[in-house]
């Protein structure tokens, strides 16, 4: 799981949890508020006969202090509620006088309406709720980490599955030489193939067969190519003729040997580009320092016995 995916998953889980929690809190608060409003109204209605409110008919001024004291004592029982009673009045209250958080409720009595002014505290980010958001943050982190662990386990199982057969039957790289279309390729990626000309192809095939049989031999540029090798090359050339690749007469494999080897090397370079360590086996050694004409240099495939060559259309 990449870091970006990790963060994305984490924030998604957290946002969903928080959103659901928030909606739930709002929903429950609304219901609780409605219920508590009714309970407060009931209590005020019960106390209304003893509440000294102004009365216009009786020219009664009312006892403001007593009403304020009553509201205070009522509010002291509303500490856990998000509702508060701001005022109880027998007069009319215009909507403009109310603050944003206030709303009114009207009790109809035989002596005229009594208006209760409530104020509501719609504060959903209380310390208690904040604790929950923190809790969700931890849960999201936990779940994301868990998902990450599960995913990496799964992918390692998959990797094992794909690696296991290779591990149980190790398949070293095999060089595939196809005579039918004169190409070089290898077993790991058969699509990546390189076409060789007739002469280098035949010579390389002959060199492989010759060196497999005579691993100790030293093939020197100064000397002529051994007859046995020439014969093998000719044999492969006949095969190519048989396959209809050429009608020309066979080339002289002794001529321009260096050029032929170069073409072979170029082809192998291309095919074994990604596996340079395999070149040691299949690559006709180049001369370093001593010069290609040196007596010491041999273009023989010394390690070819360790190699694995598959010839198609032999």
């Amino acid at each position: 799981m990449s870091r970006r995916k990790f963060l994305l998953t984490f924030s998604c889980i957290f946002l969903i949890l928080s959103f659901v929690f928030y909606i739930s809190v709002v929903n429950k608060t609304e219901r609780a508020t409605k219920q508590q409003k009714a309970q407060i109204e009931k209590q005020i209605a019960l106390d209304l006969t003893l509440l000294d409110l102004p009365n216009e008919l009786y020219k009664h001024a009312g006892n403001k202090e007593a009403v304020v004291a009553y509201i205070d004592s009522l509010n002291s029982y509303l500490k856990t509620s998000n509702l508060k009673v701001d005022n109880i009045t027998s007069g009319l209250i215009s909507e403009n006088e109310l603050k944003k958080t206030q709303f009114t409720s009207r009790l109809a009595t035989s002596e005229g309406p009594v208006i209760i002014v409530f104020s509501i505290n719609e504060h959903y980010f209380t310390p208690k709720n904040k604790m929950f958001f923190l809790f969700f943050l931890l849960i999201s982190l936990f779940v994301t980490v868990w998902l990450k662990v599960v995913e990496s386990k799964k992918s390692s199982v998959n990797l094992n599955k794909s690696i296991n057969p290779v591990a149980s039957t190790p398949m070293p790289l095999a060089l595939i030489i196809d005579l039918r279309n004169k190409t070089l390729s290898h077993s790991y990626d058969k699509e990546q193939s390189v076409q060789l000309a007739n002469k280098p192809l035949c010579f390389y095939l002959a060199l492989v067969e010759y060196c497999s049989a005579n691993s100790e031999v030293t093939l020197n540029h100064n000397k002529n190519v051994p007859d046995e090798l020439i014969e093998l090359a000719n044999k492969y050339f006949y095969r190519l003729t048989e396959l209809g690749h050429t009608i020309r007469k066979r080339p002289n494999f002794n001529n321009s040997l260096e050029k032929t080897l170069s073409e072979i090397r170029a082809g192998l370079d291309e095919v074994l580009n990604e596996y340079p360590e395999e070149k040691e086996i299949y690559y006709p050694p180049k001369a370093y320092g001593e010069g290609s004409r040196s007596r010491l240099h041999s273009y023989g495939l010394i390690n070819i016995a360790k190699g694995n060559i598959e010839i198609i259309g032999k």
Binding site: V20, A32, Q35, D52, K59, L74, S81
Partner: protein, 278 residues
């Protein structure tokens, strides 16, 4: 998600609101004679006095011999005192003598005055000039009166003055207040030009004594009455004693100035002051 929803549902408090009795109108205490079912009922317009007096009576040994408990009621509204006086519910009641007279409570229930506060004078009080008792003076003034009809200085007497001057009360600009203190606030804040009330010493700080005009002299002060259906002199003397002691602790000068109506000596009680000072 379900978990988050449940959390939201559980965290919001929706406990049912439970209110106790929010407006109390009485206090009860027991005497040492808990087996006695008799209740001594006390009524006073003030909560503090009702509480204090009830407690004192509960601790009293004479009361304990006759009653198991003392209930102190205080009026929350003016009409409460009318019920108590008119129906003779209270054994001991603090009331104005005009109300006692109105209900003929003294003869009906045999209420006897025990302790009385001194008589006083009602005034028109202004902040800027000495009020003149004349029709033309009152007509363009804003007047502050008390809203309860049992008040003599703040309601009955000023209205009598207006009637005597042949002023239609409907033509006057009257503002009603619920207490004498509220009336004083109205005057001090310039909401009214004149108020009708009594004069107390502390008024000097807010108003001038030169700008008051008396309405009527010798308004009989409020009195404590005891229902004397038996010749229960022990209780009478004990109650009088408590009331006299309590008045000494009152903050207002007016309430400290009390008269005892009975002479309690050698286990007898003799009525010493006549009720001829109406």
């Amino acid at each position: 998600m379900v978990f988050a929803w449940m959390c939201g549902q559980l965290i919001v408090n929706d406990d049912e609101l439970v209110f106790p009795i929010l407006i109390e109108t009485s206090t009860v205490c027991s005497t040492s004679a808990t087996a006695n079912d008799n209740e001594l009922i006390v009524f006073t317009p003030s909560k503090n006095i009702a509480t204090e007096l009830s407690q004192k009576l509960c601790d009293d040994s004479v009361v304990a011999k006759q009653y198991g408990s003392v209930i102190g009621y205080w009026g929350y509204k003016t009409s409460d005192s009318l019920e108590f006086v008119g129906k003779g519910i209270a054994d001991l009641i603090l009331a104005k003598n005009n109300i006692m007279t109105a209900f003929k409570a003294e003869s009906t229930y045999n209420y006897m005055p025990v302790v009385g506060f001194s008589d006083y004078t009602a005034f028109f009080i202004s902040s800027k000039e000495k009020p003149i008792i004349s029709k033309s003076y009152f007509l363009d003034k804003k007047i502050g009166l008390l809203d309860y009809p049992t008040s003599r200085s703040g309601h009955i007497l000023p209205k009598q003055v207006f009637k005597d001057l042949a002023i239609n009360i409907a033509n006057l600009n009257i503002t009603y207040a619920s207490s004498h203190n509220e009336l004083r606030d109205l005057l001090a804040n310039g909401k009214v030009d004149i108020i009708a009330s009594f004069w107390k010493e502390s008024d000097k700080d807010r108003f001038s004594k030169n700008y008051i005009t008396p309405l009527s002299n010798n308004i009989t002060g409020t009195r404590w009455y005891l229902k004397m259906q038996q010749n229960n002199t022990d209780l009478l003397c004990s109650v009088q004693n408590h009331l006299m002691n309590m008045s000494k602790g009152q903050a207002l000068h007016y309430y400290q100035n009390v008269t005892a109506f009975w002479l309690c000596e050698n286990n007898t009680a003799v009525f010493k002051v006549g009720e001829n000072n109406e």
